[in-house]
């Protein structure tokens, strides 16, 4: 194994550059080194001006998403040796405005998230003193998968519909809405329906499926969206056919 590998890193310095330029760095190629280790090596030893986000380096905080050789990846869970002999292209996540170098602006998602009301909604809250809401392991399994989202934004970066129409609510937010809709303790599905069934909601998704392919936590947002389409469509038919009281 060669002991060095080239990282071609997208640099964008606002005010100086009109568009990103690629810059090459040689970093050590070692077993167990993630792409992120290569980037921190650059920052610590070669070029302190390179900007990127990271924190947990164990694939759970969701901050280190970037485009690696064209694919959206968590750079702390993607390894240099898998790309040997290189070079490896590291670019910011697609479909988000670039703030600087590898840092993108996810403000859009942060604004959309509360609109789908990702919290438990109950008609009546029972007091904590009465103990927990019972939920069997099977009921837990109903939504568990959709609760695994780390908000890493890889799915948004992979979704062409979001690229073309940034008003699309998008995979992770819809999956989180479904996470609560399917939770046996929640009674807020009707409250989330308006946003989900708006033109920017589920109907904008054409089931490209790339969101689920990109998701590092197997959340399968594509499935969440299609399932809600089925739910919403069935509901619409019921609304049309049944008199109000019978629904």
């Amino acid at each position: 194994m060669a002991d060095q590998i080239t990282l071609e890193v997208a640099r964008y310095r606002p005010g100086l550059d009109t568009e990103p330029v690629m810059q090459s760095y040689q970093v050590p190629l070692r077993e167990h080194w993630a792409i992120l280790d290569g980037l921190t090596y650059i920052k610590d030893h070669l070029d302190g001006t390179l900007s990127f986000r990271w924190s947990c380096r164990m694939g759970i905080c969701g901050s280190c998403g970037m485009t690696v050789n064209g694919d959206p990846q968590l750079t702390c869970a993607t390894f240099l040796t898998d790309y040997a002999p290189g070079p490896v292209r590291v670019e910011p996540l697609r479909n988000f405005p670039v703030v600087r170098d590898l840092v993108v602006d996810i403000g859009d998602f942060m604004e959309k998230l509360p609109t789908v009301k990702p919290w438990i909604i109950r008609d009546v809250d029972s007091p904590v003193e009465e103990g927990e809401y019972l939920q069997t392991p099977e009921e837990l399994d109903e939504y568990k998968q959709f609760s695994m989202c780390i908000n890493c934004m890889l799915c948004y970066s992979a979704c062409p519909v979001y690229a073309l129409d940034p008003s699309f609510v998008g995979p992770a937010a819809i999956a989180l809405a479904q996470r609560y809709n399917l939770d046996s303790r929640d009674e807020g599905a009707a409250d989330r329906d308006d946003v989900l069934t708006s033109p920017e909601g589920i109907w904008a998704c054409t089931f490209v499926g790339e969101c689920s392919a990109a998701c590092p936590k197997d959340v399968d947002p594509a499935a969440a969206i299609q399932r809600y389409k089925l739910t919403a469509a069935t509901q619409a038919v019921k609304n049309l056919l049944l008199p109000r009281g019978a629904r």
């Binding site: 964008y12 550059d17 405005p97 670039v98 399932r227």
Partner: protein
């Protein structure tokens, strides 16, 4: 803050293989529409009497009609395969309270496809 917005190329779907497959999958719908037209021509020919029907058979043997149909068949197969692959995601089926694994739903779809195709072929070729 001056943010950089990456422009989207017109043919963005040439950038990634998976996007290309997606666009081809979507285009399969055009060939399904073509099939409907072709089917209606056939029905029209059958109701026009046996001479009409023979003429239809002749025309359907033209090299370019066959070529279109071969391409259409490939697209339709792409449609079927992707459809059966994705349908299990939207459908949550339950058997005796247990959730049926997506794989089994896909297998059921393929089985239905086989049986139906056999029945149709039998009806036509009988």
């Amino acid at each position: 803050m001056s943010l950089y917005h990456r422009p989207i190329p017109i043919f963005w779907w040439l950038e990634r293989r998976s996007y290309l497959v997606f666009v081809l999958r979507e285009l399969s719908s055009v060939f399904i529409a073509w099939f409907v037209v072709y089917l209606l021509l056939l029905i029209n020919a059958v109701s026009g009497g046996s001479a009409e029907y023979e003429r239809f058979l002749d025309r359907s043997g033209h090299w370019w009609v066959v070529a279109i149909n071969v391409i259409a068949l490939l697209f339709v197969l792409l449609h079927s395969v992707t459809w059966f692959g994705l349908a299990p995601k939207a459908i949550v089926a339950r058997l005796r309270g247990r959730r049926v694994p997506p794989r089994q739903i896909a297998v059921a779809h393929y089985a239905a496809w086989l049986v139906l195709s056999a029945v149709i072929a039998w009806v036509i070729l009988r």
